[in-house]
């Protein structure tokens, strides 16, 4: 028995169909999976009891991720592997629990994330060098927030890891800042490149996957 509810963090991936569901719908999906799992999840009291699930940095609809986190509480000790296996038995395909543990950090500690961006372009190899040099210059984008639209250079918050051609696609790996103040949506980078290089074809012909998440230093993996 636990003296009080214990906090649990589950690292999970969100791929396939799951890419296309909103944050709200992910919440619903997880909520019903919890009930199916019969795990000793802690619920709020009151008329409408619910598990207080908190998710890490939200993803745009359409973006896959290998590295998401959710926190909730349990009322009885359960080994991490059991939590993962149980959740995976009730999760839809595309939602996979990877690791479960008692967290020692806060989501607020997350500072950076790696993304893999794949663009479908004819003659992808001819773009490799041009993309590299474009990303070496100031990356001026239009950022729309609740307050309004601003034009700014986000290059301090973008680190290019690699630009290659793979299977006819242009593959771009970048580390982007994701703290509250300087959050760079991968879509900004794509829009910047589209504007700069006139990348041919439909602008929406790309896929994005978040592959890793780091603390503020951009080096220590977030856990």
């Amino acid at each position: 028995m636990l003296s009080g509810p214990q906090k649990i963090r589950v690292k999970f991936s969100k791929t396939g169909s799951l890419k296309f569901i909103s944050h709200l719908d992910l919440n619903r999906t997880v909520k019903s999976a919890f009930l199916r799992s019969k795990l000793p999840i802690w619920y709020t009291k009151g008329f409408n009891p619910h598990p207080k699930t908190v998710f890490s940095v939200p993803l745009s609809v359409g973006t896959a991720s290998l590295c998401e986190f959710m926190d909730f509480k349990i009322t009885e000790a359960v080994p991490g592997e059991v939590i993962c296996a149980t959740l995976n038995s009730v999760f839809p395909d595309g939602l996979r629990a990877i690791e479960a543990y008692e967290p020692t950090s806060k989501f607020h500690d997350i500072g950076w994330a790696d993304y893999e961006i794949r663009l479908e372009i004819a003659n992808a190899e001819t773009y490799v060098e041009r993309v590299k040099s474009a990303l070496n210059e100031p990356i001026v984008i239009e950022k729309t927030t609740k307050i309004g639209t601003r034009t700014l250079d986000v290059s301090p918050f973008v680190k290019v890891l690699s630009v290659t051609e793979e299977n006819g696609e242009l593959a771009l790996r970048v580390k982007l800042c994701c703290d509250d103040a300087n959050f760079v949506n991968p879509k900004y980078v794509i829009e910047f490149l589209t504007g700069k290089l006139g990348v041919p074809g439909e602008r929406d012909d790309y896929s994005v996957c978040r592959t890793a998440v780091y603390r503020e230093d951009g080096v220590t993996p977030f856990k």
Binding site: G16, S17, L18, K19, F20, I21, D25, R28, T29, K31, S32, A33, F34, L35, R36, S37, Y43, F47, P49, V61, G62, V90, F91, P92, D93, G94, E202, D204, D205, Y206, S207
Partner: protein, 615 residues
Amino acid sequence: MKIPERILKKVEKPARYTGGEWGQVIKDKNAVDVRFAFCFPDTYEIGMSNLGLRILYHVLNSHEDTWAERAYAPWVDMEACMREENIPLWAHESGDPLKEFDILGFSVQYELCYTNVLNMLELAGIPLLSKDRDESFPVIMAGGPCTYNIEPIADYFDLCMIGEGEEVIEELVELYKEHKKKGFRKQAYLRDAAKIEGVYVPAFYEPTYNGDGTLASFRPIYDDVPVKINKRIVKDLNKSPFPTKLVLPFIQIVQDKITLEVYRGCIRGCRFCQAGMVWRPVREKTTDVLCEQAKVLADATGYDEMTLSSLSISDYSCIDKLTDELLQWTDERKISLSLPSLRVDSFTKELMEKISTVRTGSLTFAPEAGTQRLRDVINKNVRKEDLLRACRVAFEGGKTQVKLYFMQGLPTETYEDLDGIKELAESVIDEFYHTPNRPKKAPGVTLSTACFIPKPFTPFQWEAQCDMDELLARQKYLDGKIKDRKIKYNYHDAKVSRIEAVFARGDRKLNAALMEAHKRGLRFDGWDEHFNYEEWLKAFEAAGVDPSFYANRAFGEDELLPWDHIDIGVTKEFFLRERHRAYAETTTKNCRETCNGCGANRLGGERSCCPGLKK
């Protein structure tokens, strides 16, 4: 998933199209004999809520050699992308084009989805008319309430299942397998299928018409095809197939909860109500079976809401026992229990205390007509005193808002009856102020009126719908009468109701009008933003049919009706008797009090209230 991601990123609610939900059934397509796709001619959110389809999906997929999938009408944004890029309509589970399937089974729930059926066939790249499809296309079947008069859309279907589908759908798939083994010929298959009870193959029947456009005869073209098609029912609901796993949508759907079907049929006999007649006879499940099923569903879904579903839930003979037993564990499982469609006489303080959703939800009653006289005509046994009593109970329990449903344009309706609607609403407000321990908020009554639509297989099947001007005049009249700001009045679009009336009582001549409507791009007629009355009128004109002939004409009692070849168990004589009692303003007792000899007991059924049931 085959739809390009760039399209999924563009459309509204992409999770409508991706498939991949928890509970979907995936099989190896090379290892099955029959590929079946349930097609729902409306949005994903509506289709996914349909209980019948959930059951049938389970029924077919429980056969190892059959793989049943799902398809829905794509919303217009997705449709535009599909047309632009030539993407054929696909099934959710495999992502394969519908054209590659053996059988498509359309669930036809309401007349306003007919144009969507045509549009889905077109998007699938399948010829619309049955006669234009050979063996290289899937067999197109129809099921659902509209099959009781499928004539207006009959030319598009190869066969229809009349009545409850659980058993007949298995028989049809079984027969398909046999025919596939010996080399599938569509005509041979349909010929054998027509011999299965409950199966109607429209192409095997030929109508002839009188000079005035009414039906002269309607006969099978082959000797071995039945003259009358009998409705199928599941006799013992305790033993009827029941899904132990559900497909759980990622996005919110209309009925996003466990739906526990308690019984079929209805003991009441409201004279406008088709559902109450076509589902006869009443057949109940026992409480222990229901409790068991509820637990299975709770485990399988993880839903936190459960609704007890039936035409008139408070008429279930063991309703108290059932709710008591469910409440013993639903609270602990964090599941809230809800009851739809409460009757005024069942609305009690005890019920309100017992069931939290009754306590907190909105309060809705359906007196359907404004005066006792008209309620007697339609056989809606609701009395004003009962309604006011129920409202008082609700007010004492802290409620302030009441919703009342009515129909306008009912047979024999006068302006006095319309005044009655207004007066009833005023009485509810009065009752509020006469409730000593009422809440300290202002009360409100919302009146919602639908236009009366004469439906086949009801005592009112011969009635005319008021013409458009009259419908509008009555809405305007009532609107003008209501002065109290605490009373809100909403009414259905009369134009929509008229189109529904045309198709509800239509015959085969309407197939051409439907084609014209389709060519004019009509679809999603049930959606305000897509309904286009003027285009519909043009479609009727182009097809040379007069909508008034179907909607606004009183059909003759000796007339051969377009649906007379379908036998639902309840006899035409009974409907006629009931019609005459309506005009005499005489009510008919419910089936639990007395049997009125409607004929449905011929069909048999376990735990029913009919005497002399066939076993």
